[in-house]
Symmetry: C2
Amino acid sequence: MTERKDLAETRRSLPMSLLRTRELVMERFRPMLGAHGVTEQQWRVIRVLDERGTTDASTLSEGAALLPQSLTRILRGLDERGFVAMTRDPNDGRRQQISLTDAGAALVTAVAPESAGIYARLEAEIGARRIEKLLDDLEEICAALQPRAE
Amino acid sequence: MTERKDLAETRRSLPMSLLRTRELVMERFRPMLGAHGVTEQQWRVIRVLDERGTTDASTLSEGAALLPQSLTRILRGLDERGFVAMTRDPNDGRRQQISLTDAGAALVTAVAPESAGIYARLEAEIGARRIEKLLDDLEEICAALQPRAE
DNA sequence: ATTCATTAATTAACATGTTAAACGATATGG
DNA sequence: CCATATCGTTTAACATGTTAATTAATGAAT
């Protein structure tokens, strides 16, 4: 219980604040996703595929903010369940090309409106303007932290 | 690759933005914590104990933003390694009282200055004012999302 | 073409996140 | 008191996060 000046209060630290906020937001989505049989991460993968179409694993991993190791496991499950299809890139045998199957697209069709509804409720509670502002701020901070060559 | 209006771009969603930002921040801390043999979550637990002194598990779990189930496992490890001590509350046999041992306090002494250094560098890159503003904004949003009775 | 370094993806091992259920201890109403 | 509900914590099972190492394919340089 030492009185320190070198460490900020735990509650007032960037990692904790971002974590708590994200957790409060995800609480709203997780039950709905669970009812559809997908996890938050699985839904991110499916959603990115829906947005971008066929994508190689590296791009997908960056797009869904997942480490490649996690994506490998997630894709194995989504493939077994028939939501995605995987083929090797003919021009580069190292790359996996991932695409959404019809079943995957159908899942998007089922989940998307519910997700949008929850997001709309969040906007009502928080304020759409406030959210947009926050997204801008976060983007700026990410840009400042990006491992640019310096 | 449907063009949808009902879902925001994945990149521009609250959960993803918060996740990406947090990840960029934690990248700076993780290697240092790893060098001291602790994970991010273990460090959070130790830090909260250092701030608050002896604390019951529920309070600790809330303070470190960990589910009680995760805390149970983490405390088992920290106890075995001698960083924390656990005793049952004499007034309520359900509660566990957790306290930091001397070894735990020594770890704080070792890690705290390095952590503060990394945080200072972050403030330099992002701007201390911008960080404070973000923390305020996040706090407001958390308040708006808190499961208050309504 | 052969060697060597690099890249994309995967596997392995351990820690944590998530949901559900179990457990003992405590409060509460009859 | 006693039965029951609730509470604080723990266990279990599965999914993901994290770091390190591996594998196969490609690229670069002889």
